[in-house]
């Protein structure tokens, strides 16, 4: 039972970390003017998602 809790906490921690990192990167992108659903390939889309180069 104890190992299950520790294992679950580790996995949950990793998952929360990944999700947190993704959300943080998306917020950062948003601040740069990129759309969260954009792959960030500004070279290809001329920064179309942000309209600011």
């Amino acid at each position: 039972m104890g190992s299950e809790i520790i294992g679950t906490l580790i996995v949950a921690g990793i998952l929360v970390g990944i999700v947190g990192a993704i959300v943080a990167s998306m917020i950062k992108s948003r601040k740069r003017g990129e759309h969260p659903a954009c792959g960030g390939n500004c070279g290809n889309c001329h920064g179309g998602c942000s309209h600011s180069l």
Partner: protein, 791 residues
């Protein structure tokens, strides 16, 4: 102190290629005008003090197009330290027209004659030394593609910029014009702080450039005074001011060319010969259709499928044999085992159904893995005995015994979670949600990369430029401009740059219509969905993927014709000028880089927005209210999930289209976040019932599958693209008009696909069929009704 160097030149002369080579950037390079619609800055690789600015391609410094306005404003207002005027060496005469204007700006200029490798290959000769003397600016031979002369041209521009001594233009107009220019300068330009640009302003005022009059804030009296000078010159030269200037410039260019350029006397080039066939009035369209069919066939059905099967079944499935060693032996053994198993199961099924053992030959069902079609084969009692004996002696083959077996991601993740004794709910979230959803999307990466290689090749070799030319001929017949097809070409990678590219269309109505229809062309994000529908519902039929592309073109043409006949979009098509570049073999690095740029964008999305979406979708799919209250659901209970309730409430919208079930409904809606999400969502929902493809195949008929495909290809694009539409439309009314039109049009096409498809394939006729025919009638009326707005 930093130096800013602007790259100015005609469209498609190689500015962006030069920019990428100098700065190490990966800006998109296209073989058609309008690829660069805003200026871009980058630091010179060898000296970070030097900033390179890539300007949109222009033919002149007159403000007729958006590109000309952007480039001209930058050069006048920002005043870079130096200009590299990029000239296409194979079209030097036309390119020099801009040069004659650029040298009048009072900014140090260096001419870079690009594509010198092609010039030499053609046997042409350009005397650059003499050219430099004639124009009065340094001239450097370069080849941006082959990295030739790049250091020299930047060094010359840096030196010119640091010296800050603009060259005095050597060209002088006719005496009468010069007289008028001198008057204009004296009248209103002597106060301008930068004396070097006075001549350029005076020429523009002579040409009656209203934007310059406005910029200089000239009073009516001054404008009237200038008008007197212009009119008297026009009378003397018997032509209008703008034509006088243009004519004088071309005369000057003619004298330069005759002394500096020697063209080899050659007949038709290879490009000309190819174009005689490829752009032929009758053959052009069939050739385009065949080319695109081959592209999609190879990408989605053959090469792409092998790789995607490996990705789906291997990397995101059970696993794969390293370097395929042992794979064949294992497959043979597995097939033998499965064959015997089917006979024994068939025997048991016979006993179960008939309550007695067969006395002779019996039939047993065999399902085709690709088409999922169930056939019946016959086995004798001897076959049954042999099969039973085989199964008693042999166990199911273990792939690890036949070679180095690499377990798939789900297997590894599951093992890891088991080793950590992870909670079942968390384990289900990771395996059934994230791994299943993201894996379903990433599994299509090989297909996407193969498609992007082909598109990059077709763009870089010059064929896609011909397609714009071909489509212009066709579009013009329907009152559209070929310019409207450029955004659609660009949109085959991603819809956002396609929408952006519509800025180059001067006619506002045509521009709005192009924005509305650009996303009909399937972008890279829609490819996994096309591949999934083709594989699951149509048994991997090769015609499905090309059909999706041609459906996009059909939708654009039909929409264009219908909308042009309405008051909102009526009007003559905008003129479309483009030159066809010579065919050439693109470099491998350029093609691979273009592929990777687009592919990486797809992968990045899978790791961010798609991953987050799969978590939400998993939660909504596997949690719901039951008689026991709110709890996690078993796999056979997901029809009680939150997602099922939401989807079920709105599924009626799609009932006439044949996919009025909650699964397809929610997949269509999650596709608005990102189109790959359709695949991720179906991967989670249908994965809960076992094999995704099999469950999906059971949920759709061919007709409803085609309606599902058509609707999701043509309806509103992802939120990012919708944002681009909103920005480019710059009006809430127009934005909603565009989204509304796309959704209604997609729904109508879906209705026709399902209702008429069901009538043809299954012979079913009902009220829906009548509405299907009605929808066709409306489309035909929209296409062929009289255009009362046509001049």
């Amino acid at each position: 102190m930093g130096i800013r160097i602007a790259l100015a030149g005609n469209p498609n002369c190689g500015k962006t290629t030069l920019f990428n080579a100098l700065t190490g950037s990966n800006q998109f390079v296209g073989n058609w005008p309008g690829v660069t619609v805003e200026y871009k800055e980058g630091k010179y690789k060898s000296d970070k003090e030097v900033t390179i600015v890539d300007l949109p391609g222009i033919y002149s410094l007159s403000p007729y197009t958006l590109e000309e306005v952007v480039s001209r404003n930058y050069l006048i207002d920002e005043r870079p330290d130096a200009i590299i005027n990029v000239i296409d060496g194979t079209n030097i005469e036309r390119n020099l027209y801009l040069t004659t204007q650029v040298v009048e700006l009072g900014i140090p200029v260096v001419i870079a004659i690009n594509m010198m490798d092609v010039v030499e290959k053609n046997g042409d000769k350009i005397n650059t030394k003499k050219l430099a003397e004639e124009i009065g600016v340094p001239v450097v031979e370069i080849s941006a593609l082959k990295n030739r002369g790049l250091k020299e041209v930047v060094s010359a521009a840096v030196a010119a910029g640091k010296a800050a001594l603009p060259q005095e233009p050597k060209h002088r107009f006719n005496g009468s014009v010069e007289h008028a220019l001198a008057h204009i300068e004296e009248l209103c330009l002597h106060n301008i702080s930068d004396a070097n640009i006075q001549r350029w302003y005076s020429i523009k005022l002579f040409e009656r450039d209203e934007k310059i009059q406005e910029k200089l804030g000239l009073s009516k009296d001054v404008i009237d005074h200038i008008e007197q000078d212009i009119t008297s010159c026009e009378k003397e030269m018997d032509d209008d001011a703008e034509s006088i200037i243009t004519g004088e410039r071309y005369n000057y260019i003619g004298t330069i060319i005759s002394g500096c350029v020697k063209k080899a006397n050659r007949g038709m080039t290879i490009s000309d010969k190819i174009d005689r066939i490829v752009t032929n009035r009758i053959l052009a369209l069939p050739i385009f259709a065949v080319v695109m069919f081959i592209v999609y066939y190879i990408s989605v059905t053959t090469v792409g499928t092998y790789a995607t099967d490996w990705a789906n079944d291997g990397v995101f499935g059970d696993g794969w044999h390293l370097f395929a060693i042992g794979s064949k032996d294992y497959n043979d053994a597995s097939e033998e085992f499965t064959g015997n198993q089917l006979i024994v199961d068939g025997y048991d099924l016979y006993v179960e159904e008939n309550g007695t053992e067969p006395t002779g030959d019996f039939e047993y069902p065999v399902e085709d893995e690709e088409t999922l079609k169930v056939d019946y084969e016959t086995a004798s009692l001897e076959d049954y005995a042999a099969a039973k004996a085989y199964l008693e002696k042999n166990e199911e083959p273990d792939p690890a015994e036949y070679g180095v077996w690499v377990p798939g991601v789900p297997v590894l993740v599951e093992k890891g979670l088991d080793a950590l004794h992870c909670n079942d709910i968390l384990k289900a979230l990771i395996l059934d949600g994230i791994v299943a959803g993201v894996g379903a999307v990433l599994g299509f990466v090989p297909q996407i990369l193969v498609l992007f290689i082909f598109l990059a090749f077709l763009e870089a070799c010059g064929y896609m430029a011909r397609v714009a030319f071909i489509m212009d001929r066709i579009f013009r017949k329907f009152g559209l401009s070929g310019k409207s097809f450029i955004p659609m070409l660009i949109g085959s990678g991603c819809g956002i740059p396609g929408i952006m590219a519509s800025r180059t269309i001067e006619n506002d109505r045509d521009r709005k219509m192009t924005i509305m229809t650009t996303t009909f062309i399937p972008c890279g994000a829609k490819l996994p969905f096309i591949g999934m529908v083709a594989g699951a519902i149509f048994g991997g039929a090769p015609w499905v993927a090309p059909c999706a592309y041609f459906l996009g073109i059909f939708a654009i043409v039909v929409s264009g014709i219908m909308l042009k006949k309405t008051k909102l979009f009526a009007g003559d098509p905008a003129p479309f000028v483009m030159e066809l570049p010579a065919y050439h073999w693109p470099t491998v690095s350029n093609v691979l880089r273009s592929m990777w740029e687009r592919g990486w964008s797809f992968i990045k999305k899978a790791g961010t927005i798609i991953l987050l979406s799969t978590i939400v979708i998993w939660f909504l799919t596997f949690f719901g209210f039951t008689s026991d209250g709110f709890r996690m659901l078993e796999e056979d209970e997901i029809s009680s999930s939150i997602l099922a309730k939401i989807g079920g409430a709105i599924a009626w919208i799609f009932a006439p289209l044949g996919f009025g079930n909650w699964e397809a409904t929610v997949a269509s809606f999650t596709g608005l976040v990102a189109k790959e999400n359709i695949v991720g969502t179906l991967g989670i929902i249908y994965g809960a019932s076992g094999d995704v493809y099999q469950t999906m195949a059971n949920a759709f008929t061919s007709a409803s599958g085609m309606a599902f495909l058509a609707f999701n290809l043509l309806c509103a694009p992802c939120f990012a693209a919708m944002g681009a539409i909103k920005r480019e439309m710059n009006s809430a009314k127009w934005f909603w008009t565009a989204i509304g039109y796309q959704c209604i049009f997609a729904w109508v096409i879906g209705l026709i696909c399902y209702q008429i498809g069901s009538l043809i394939l299954a012979g079913s006729f009902g009220v829906g069929t009548v509405f299907g025919f009605l929808a066709i009638a409306v489309l035909i009326y929209g296409l062929f009704r009289r255009d009362k707005y046509k001049n």
